[in-house]
C-alpha cells in the first residue's frame, strides 16, 4: 500500500538542485529544463514515511508538503 494524500510543491527560489530528492525517488522528483527539482507524476505513489523523510532532508528546505487542511507541515 503506497500513497499519502499530501500535496507537494517545490520552492524554486530555495531549491539548490542537490539532487537528493531526484536521486532518492526518481519519477517522484525530476529535474526540469533549468536543472531545478520539480514534482513528478510518481510523487503520489511515494510512501508517506519516505516522502516526509525526503522533504525533511532537503538541504534547501525547498520541498513543501501540505496537509489535508492545506497548511504546510512543519518538517524542519
Amino acid at each position: 500500500m503506497t500513497g499519502h494524500g499530501y500535496r507537494v510543491e517545490i520552492n524554486r527560489e530555495t531549491c539548490i538542485s542537490s539532487g537528493r530528492c531526484v536521486g532518492d525517488a526518481p519519477g517522484a522528483f525530476v529535474f526540469d529544463e533549468n536543472e531545478l527539482a520539480t514534482v513528478g507524476a510518481a510523487v503520489t505513489d511515494l510512501a508517506e514515511t519516505k516522502l516526509l523523510r525526503i522533504a525533511r532532508d532537503c538541504p534547501g528546505e525547498a520541498i513543501i508538503v501540505y496537509g489535508t487542511d492545506g497548511v504546510p507541515l512543519q518538517l524542519h
Binding site: E13, I16, S17, S18, G19, N34, E35, L36, P59, G60
Partner: protein, 409 residues
C-alpha cells in the same frame, strides 16, 4: 544466487544497497562499516548538528523501516582489512566474507598534522563522534582556532561563531578555499567570514600545537615571517581527508590517491569503487583532468547507485555503463549558500557572470583552455543550475559567456 559485499556503511554504501534492490537484485547483500553509529548524514556535522540544533536521530539517513526493507546484513563496527580479488574474499576484523561482486565505498580518513599531539581540546571533524566532542566545546567567548581554511573548517568556523565563540582560522595558502574555488573566488567567498567577525589568517605556517594535558595555543610563523603564539581554548585540525585505502595495500588494486578505476567505476573483475575513494576518468572533463577523485556528497550518492547498477549488469552478463557527471557541491556559511558545479582547479580564467560579490549574491564562471569547466554561485541558485547543461555539453568560453549575458539581461 549471488552475494554482494559492500565495504563502507555510509552514503555511497547505502545508495549501493538501495540501487541493488531497486533493480531487483535478490541475492545476499552484506555491508561492512567500521563505525558503530549506524547510517548518518555527514554534511550537518559541521553545520546544524555541530550547532546543537539537530540531534543524532535527525541526521539518520533512513527510517528504521526503510532499512529493514532493504534486507541487507549490516555489520557495523567491523573493519575491512584486506581484499583478495582472485579468490574474491574480503577479510574483516570479524572474519572473511566471500563475494561474487564487491563495491568499495570506504570514504576518507581524516588527515592529521605530522606529530599532532593528543592534548585535550584538539579535534578533527569527520565522524559523528568527532562532531559531538567538538560541539561540547563550542561555548560563548571561548577561542576556537581552526587549522585549514577549507570548506569543513570554514563551516565549523561559521557554526562556532554563531554560537558566540571567538574564531581564528589559520591557512598556509594565500587564500581560503583555494583547493575548491581557486585564489580569487576563495577570497571573495570568504568575505562573509570577515563580515561576521571570523579572523582568517592566510600565508601562515603552523609549527606546533601547544599545551598538555589541555591545549593552550598554536605556535605559527606568521604572515610577516615572525614566530607567534595564537592562544586557543579549542583547536580544530581541518586539513582534509585522505582516501581510505590503507587496507588495500596488499591487494591487486592500483592505488594512486584513491582506487584507480575504469570509466565504469570498476577496479578489478567484479570489484567497483564509489565515493571519496574512487579515482576514475570522467569523460566530461577528460581534456582538463584525465582522472579525478571527488569528495562531494552527490558524487558519493550517485556513484554508489551507479556502481551497484553495473554490478547487476555484470552479474546478468550485460554491458557496463560509464559514470560521467558534472561534480556538484553546496556549502552553507553564515548567510551564504554556496553552490559549485564542475571543476575549478585548472582554470586559467574566472569571471563574474551574474550578480555582484558586494551584494553577497553572484555567479562566476571558470574557464580552462577556452572552455567552461565550472560555475560557482553564492546565494543565486537560479543562475547556477542551468549551467549544468552547459558543462555536460562542454561548451566553449564564447558560448558560455553568450548564455550568461542572455540570462542576466
Amino acid at each position: 544466487m549471488s552475494d554482494v559485499v559492500i565495504v563502507g556503511a555510509s552514503l555511497a554504501g547505502l545508495r549501493a544497497v538501495e540501487s541493488l534492490r531497486n533493480q531487483g537484485f535478490d541475492g545476499s547483500v552484506t555491508v561492512v562499516g567500521n563505525e558503530n553509529r549506524g547510517l548518518y548524514d555527514r554534511p550537518p556535522l559541521s553545520k546544524k548538528f555541530l550547532a546543537g540544533e539537530w540531534d543524532a536521530d535527525r541526521i539518520r539517513l533512513r527510517k528504521p523501516e526503510e532499512i529493514v526493507a532493504l534486507r541487507a546484513d549490516w555489520r557495523f563496527g567491523t573493519t575491512a582489512t584486506a581484499l583478495d580479488t582472485s579468490r574474491r574474499i574480503v577479510t574483516t576484523s570479524a572474519g572473511d566474507i566471500a563475494y561474487d561482486a564487491c563495491i568499495i565505498a570506504t570514504g576518507g580518513v581524516v588527515r592529521r598534522l605530522p606529530n599532532q599531539p593528543t592534548h585535550r581540546g584538539i579535534h578533527v571533524l569527520r565522524t559523528i563522534d568527532d562532531a559531538e566532542a567538538l560541539r561540547d566545546e563550542l561555548v560563548a567567548d571561548k577561542h576556537l582556532v581552526v587549522i585549514g581554511a577549507g570548506f569543513i573548517g570554514l563551516e565549523a568556523a561559521a557554526t562556532a561563531r554563531a554560537k558566540g565563540c571567538r574564531v581564528t582560522v589559520l591557512e598556509g595558502l594565500p587564500a581560503p578555499l583555494v583547493r575548491g574555488l581557486g585564489e580569487t573566488m576563495g577570497r571573495t567567498v570568504a568575505r562573509v567570514h570577515h563580515d561576521n567577525g571570523v579572523s582568517i589568517r592566510c600565508n601562515v605556517r603552523v609549527e606546533e600545537i601547544l599545551g598538555g594535558p589541555t591545549v593552550t595555543g598554536v605556535r605559527i610563523t606568521n604572515e610577516s615571517g615572525d614566530g607567534e603564539v595564537v592562544d586557543a581554548d579549542t583547536v580544530l585540525v581541518g586539513i582534509g581527508v585522505a582516501p581510505a585505502t590503507d587496507w588495500l595495500a596488499d591487494s591487486e588494486l592500483t592505488i594512486n590517491d584513491g582506487i584507480v578505476c575504469d570509466e565504469n567505476l570498476q577496479c578489478a573483475p567484479g570489484v567497483f569503487a564509489a565515493g571519496d575513494v574512487a579515482r576514475w576518468p570522467n569523460a566530461l572533463f577528460a581534456d582538463v583532468e584525465p582522472t579525478m577523485r571527488v569528495e562531494h556528497w552527490t558524487t558519493a550518492s550517485e556513484q554508489g547507485a551507479h556502481a551497484a547498477a553495473n554490478v547487476v549488469a555484470q552479474l546478468a552478463g550485460q554491458p557496463l555503463a560509464p559514470y560521467a557527471a558534472v561534480p556538484f557541491f553546496w556549502s552553507d556559511q553564515f548567510t551564504s549558500r554556496i553552490q559549485f558545479l564542475g571543476r575549478g582547479t585548472n582554470a586559467d580564467d574566472v569571471r563574474i557572470v551574474a550578480g555582484n560579490p558586494d551584494d553577497g549574491k553572484f555567479a562566476a564562471a571558470y574557464f580552462a583552455d577556452d572552455r567552461l569547466t565550472a560555475v560557482l554561485g553564492v546565494s543565486l541558485p537560479k543562475a547556477v543550475m542551468p549551467a549544468r547543461k552547459l558543462l555536460q555539453d562542454r561548451v566553449s568560453k564564447a558560448q558560455a559567456l553568450a548564455h550568461f549575458s542572455e540570462a542576466t539581461t
